[in-house]
Symmetry: C2
Subunit: 203 residues, 2 copies
């Protein structure tokens, strides 16, 4: 008895395909997600659909700090309580949120929305470097604090930006490398310890 | 200088929250997904939004096999080329697809869309057991092949269904347990080997 190939409903196939735009979601998890939504959480799927639409309509980049906002200029950049002499450069809005959580920084931000990565074709223009330089040279900013990640690409990005700023006579600094809080030397990698020794502070 | 709390755009927050309906997606990955979509793949986000809507509108359950379909009765159940004397019971449409891929089964299916799981409050009604029994007793079906997973819940589900079928005088069988193809005994768990010995076939 000859078999028929069974393609399944077209709408399901398109949903599985569409879910794969999510980072880290391969064909198997996309299928699992689609089944879950259609079988167990149709209300959630509905909500996700409208949240996507709303976010696409309302979320854009702040014209000053480049982070996500629903205004021309975001709430943080508009705040009169932030110190306009300091500008902290981070890779992503998540990094900005982490710095905010520390409650130890009251200046302004610039969000690169990425990092320099020549191998992935990400150059200075893609991380808004021209806008960062214009912002840093606005007369109010006295120090640019580079808080990109301590990865190879984050380090390279920090050094590149520092060079550009130096050429324009703008002072920049890099957040400290070292052993993390609660870190036990036995469990910290050698590179971190070596940097912590190099960057030691006199007491 | 006092700090302002920065909540970020509302639409972004709602998108992050909405993404958490996806199985396996926690707050961090939801945030990463939302940033990725808004920053790098707005077209993909748009497509995902409409795919969700389309799937919710068009995808439903086949009235015969209970799998996903966009018709009253799915293509497989309608096919004249399938053997109506055999009914294979699987847990999910993904399992159905796996059995189909083997090209070794030409009968019909019933998809439980789950498994018995008293601890999670999933009882016989939730896996459509009444509909399965009606289907199995339609006069055409001569054998019900139980292909639920070899997990505790899958095994329990198979045994429960087999009992129900036996009470109605319907023959059921369970797909074979054993060492998987290409399996090396050294790397297979003891339980599997013990079952493979128990279920040995004479040559």
């Amino acid at each position: 008895m000859k078999r028929d190939v069974v393609p399944g409903p077209a709408g399901l196939g398109r949903l599985i395909e569409a879910l794969r735009v999510l980072p880290g979601v391969g064909p198997r998890s996309a299928q699992r997600m689609a089944y879950h939504l259609l079988q167990h959480d149709r209300a959630g799927a509905e909500a996700l659909g409208s949240a996507l639409g709303e976010a696409l309509r309302t979320v854009r980049h702040c014209s000053l700090c480049n982070s996500f906002t629903d205004d021309e200029v975001c709430q943080l950049c508009r705040s009169p309580r932030r110190d306009p002499t300091q500008l902290c450069v981070v890779e992503t809005p998540a990094d900005l949120a982490m710095v905010e959580q520390t409650l130890s920084y009251s200046g302004l931000y610039f969000v690169l929305m990425g990092r320099l990565s020549p191998l992935d074709g990400v150059g200075p223009r893609d991380i808004g470097l021209d806008r960062l330089l214009a912002r840093a040279g606005d007369g109010a900013v006295q120090e640019v604090i580079l808080a990109t990640n301590f990865t190879n690409e984050g380090e390279a990005t920090a050094h590149y930006i520092a060079e550009m700023l130096r050429a324009r006579g703008i002072r920049s600094s890099r957040i400290a490398r070292g052993v993390p809080l609660g870190g036990e030397l036995e469990y910290v990698d050698a590179g971190t310890i070596s940097q912590a020794i190099q960057d030691r502070r006199s007491l």
